[in-house]
Symmetry: C2
Subunit: 335 residues, 2 copies
DNA sequence: TTGTACGCGTTATCAA
DNA sequence: TTGATAACGCGTACAA
């Protein structure tokens, strides 16, 4: 209703629209007297800046997109909070979308961002995203930061955690406790994240003169029940295994169940390390020793990098890898 | 770069921009032949619709805001998922902001939405939001739906749950199991939601001839650790307490931790009921009995209502109160 | 400091 | 009936 425009403010202040615009954005050289007159006119008129008009003129915007596959996952909501905070610092608005692992929704969101001339985006792509999606994204040449899920494409900025180092730490912890027969449980065959974690695991074993046994590297789905299922099969076949690094905490919780069922006492007869440090890790009995990744920090760093890209930073693509941390609870015994 | 405009498409198709615009939006009377020619031109040119220009012309947008105080809280991230889904159905983009309970950030976000001519918003206002904020919001006459936190102002649409009924159900459940010494843990002193929940709790106790002991009504922050902290203090001081209704699941999980630490067996020595039914409630051991408020559904309903308001629905303000449900798991024992 | 062309889609008005 | 013309929304930035 009765929207006040720049022109009206200009008239009221007895200056041109150019002058008002400059005052608004603190540009150019405006005399103190005029500036004050304009500021007063702005105030009196109840002017509301029309960002849309400015965006049209500038062929840009102050809006960035965030695409996740599941905002409900605590890890991602933490990350979102970190990113949101960072965006606000720079007066950028954040569009949120949940792909729910659907390429179609993902594509729709991207199109929507393009139509709205978003100035950048952060995304954790759906799992089976076709390479064509990334190619088309590159062609648009809008700043895009990939997060969390490891991406082989070197043309994108990436912010994530060090999966390799994480499992190295987990494995080193178990080795230090004297374990030699250690299994790796979880993740899906096609997961890049898993490949990295397996890498950390096996490299640390080799460093200690232990040859990884491929039969002790088992995949499973991201659920407790499947974790329990594969663990039971594994430990029945190889009772000599005394410890395990799990791909995810969720899986570790399932493994814990299986061990209990087999009358093995986690923390005494068996040592277990997870990955993610989800909330439940602290709740179960015994508490799950795990690798923590600072989700909020990933969001913050992604925001920082995105902002610099929007500002025109055109250095080669960066990979920001945040260090994970070992969180010691009781699932490996006390020490 | 080389952005294709409507005019260019028009030229290619040998028609006017008006015609292309009409084809794009399926308006007006265009012959089949022309339409096809235009569609082909659109396709060939790789045209990207400029929503900003359209918005400027229409003095509107397809963008709505969501203001929360803590997206990290699983309850709110579930709600966000529900709302996000609903918005996508209507081709609306969702701006997300986290007030972190700061009025200043909240105000900033609102101003930002106004500048960007958002067409609507959903908000869960910061706790100490001054009435002036709401008044100014009304004056802008942009559709706004309040969610979750009870609001006395009858001029706004509201979507939330029946807190009173929820704790009544929780309390009745504990009473039926034979408990008499029941505590209420969590929430902050100034919270309206808490007031309602406490109301349901105490009214149900009184209905059964039990006078609520004010020392057994303790506040705490919305975190596991604080829940554990206050629970430990409470149960040390009053070991006769055998059950508790918690303000939130998050707090209940903390209480569970504390009980375990004190060697009390949740589900046998102690009965615990939460509120929210967050994902973790089903995952912990023992599963947490809780009051489900269908966070996702609140988001969906809010989205639905908001959309109807954007479409011009000007019925009087609505209050949509979703009924809570008791979800029985193991934290109160089996029966 | 100012005048004004410009960014680009929309729609009312008018012509064929 | 079908489609073209042109004014319009409003802030920006360059030439004057």
């Amino acid at each position: 209703m009765t929207t006040v425009t720049l022109a009206q403010v200009a008239e009221r202040a007895g200056v041109s629209t150019a002058t008002v615009s400059m005052v608004l954005r603190n540009r150019g050289r405006i005399s103190q007297a005029t500036r004050e007159r304009v500021l007063k006119a702005l105030d009196d008129s109840g002017y509301v800046y029309n960002q849309t008009a400015a965006n049209l003129r500038n062929r840009s915007s102050n809006q960035v997109g965030l695409l996740l596959h599941d905002i409900t996952n605590p890890f991602y909501s933490e990350m979102t909070a970190g990113l949101s905070h960072e965006m606000e610092r720079h007066d950028l608005l954040l569009f949120l979308a949940n792909s729910e692992e659907s390429e179609e929704r993902q594509q729709k969101f991207l199109d929507s961002l393009m139509r709205n001339s978003a100035c950048g985006m952060v995304l954790c792509a759906a799992r089976k995203t076709p390479q064509a999606f990334f190619e088309s994204l590159k062609r648009r040449k809008i700043p895009a930061i990939m997060v969390v899920r490891p991406l082989s494409d070197p043309d994108f900025d990436f912010v994530g955690t060090d999966n390799f180092l994480g499992t190295q730490m987990a494995t080193a912890h178990l080795l230090k406790l004297g374990h030699h027969n250690i299994a790796f449980i979880g993740g899906s065959q096609s997961s890049g994240t898993r490949a990295q974690r397996i890498g950390g695991f096996t490299s640390k074993l080799l460093e200690h003169g232990i040859s990884p046994d491929s039969r002790w590297l088992v995949t499973c789905q991201a659920s407790q029940s499947d974790g329990a299922r594969v663990a039971e099969a594994l430990f029945s076949a190889f009772p000599q295994i005394t410890a395990a690094v799990c791909y995810q905490d969720v899986v570790a919780l399932g493994v814990m169940q299986a061990l209990r069922k087999m009358d093995r006492d986690v923390g005494r007869d068996f040592s277990l390390v997870g990955f993610d440090d989800i909330t439940e890790a602290a709740l179960v009995q015994p508490g799950l020793t795990t690798i923590s990744v600072a989700a909020k920090e990933i969001g913050r760093k992604a925001g920082e990098l995105l902002y610099s890209r929007i500002q025109g930073n055109d250095e080669p693509p960066k990979r920001i890898i945040l260090p994970p941390a070992l969180v010691i609870r009781e699932s490996c015994g006390f020490r």
